[in-house]
Symmetry: C2
Subunit: 222 residues, 2 copies
Amino acid sequence: MEINIQKRVLEANETQADINRNFFKEQNVFVLNMMSSPGSGKTQLLCRTLTTLLPGVRTGVIVGDVCTRNDADRLEVTRAKVIQINTDQFGGDCHLAAPLILDSAKEIGCEDLDLLIVENIGNLVCPAEFDIGEDEKAVVLSVTEGEDKPLKYPLMFRVADIAILNKIDLLPYLDFDAKLAVDNMKQVHPGLPVFEMSAKTGEGLDPWIEWLKIKVFEKTGR
Amino acid sequence: MEINIQKRVLEANETQADINRNFFKEQNVFVLNMMSSPGSGKTQLLCRTLTTLLPGVRTGVIVGDVCTRNDADRLEVTRAKVIQINTDQFGGDCHLAAPLILDSAKEIGCEDLDLLIVENIGNLVCPAEFDIGEDEKAVVLSVTEGEDKPLKYPLMFRVADIAILNKIDLLPYLDFDAKLAVDNMKQVHPGLPVFEMSAKTGEGLDPWIEWLKIKVFEKTGR
């Protein structure tokens, strides 16, 4: 029973995601859906990314959390346009669904943006199942989470267009085999581009910034 | 619509959880539901816990993952009875639901156990909503995940009977305020007992082992 219900929820979401996709095309904005476990460092990564991109690449962020607007407060110091979604008023949802994204995208004003980043709710399972009409999906894995996560949560790594291996500044203090982690990502998703970096120190950030600029240019011509 | 569907799923789960609770009472076994984000160190903590408890406290583990039997393989070296559940055959579920638990509990043979630990799927949102008929719930937070997680995922910390703050061996290398993390836990759940430890080094493990022994004795008389 539960599986059939889930199927209907996903189908309804897919219909809305197509509407979102058309909206983002009309607005000529590149949309990236960033997903990860809780505490992988997405917000820190975005703070550094926004500081580097702005004002050249006009970037907005929709931040999803069950509760609090901590992440929006952290991101607003970069002067990016930021909207915080809290899902506790929608039953404490574990993912951002397509209808919420369209409402927030209209509120943030996409006509002034080149790039819209959606920082999804920290969860390595459910958000992978919900298309929000984005252009591409990124998954962030922190080196503290263990090398086997791509094998244990394969859907997330299969749907992702790029992966970020974050917190590499902690490698000296962990029994973590970065090569094995990347191999595991490529086992579930052959050819997946992986950027290894530390959002804290800035090491390895440049290829990710370049990737974003290229993607924005490819879609918007700007 | 989605919220009403979710409500029906949770009600059906609750009915089954009551059946589980009666079964565990008949079998005279203490059942602990362990939950956390992916990569918080639950399996490493259980390896050390089982090694310390066995053979005095007869312990079995039901391990939930979307895919792989990596965790069961790691736990079996302790010689505990271990059953791996993979939810990919049930639509890739993001939590362990009550019906799966009863099937596995019957298979593992609770009549020979004092303690049954359920290592839930790595997810700080959904498993908090699904009662499995357990006696108590534990949440594990690793110090690499950030102090604000109890505020951002309050339901998990509200339903938990105890919390474990793991990986304290990494504190010297992080900007993590352990006192603030514990304060945040107690803000959403006043009086919540918190055990600070490193499953890797064994530091701080004793109070947790004592807590388990007391709980087993209180329920089973053994």
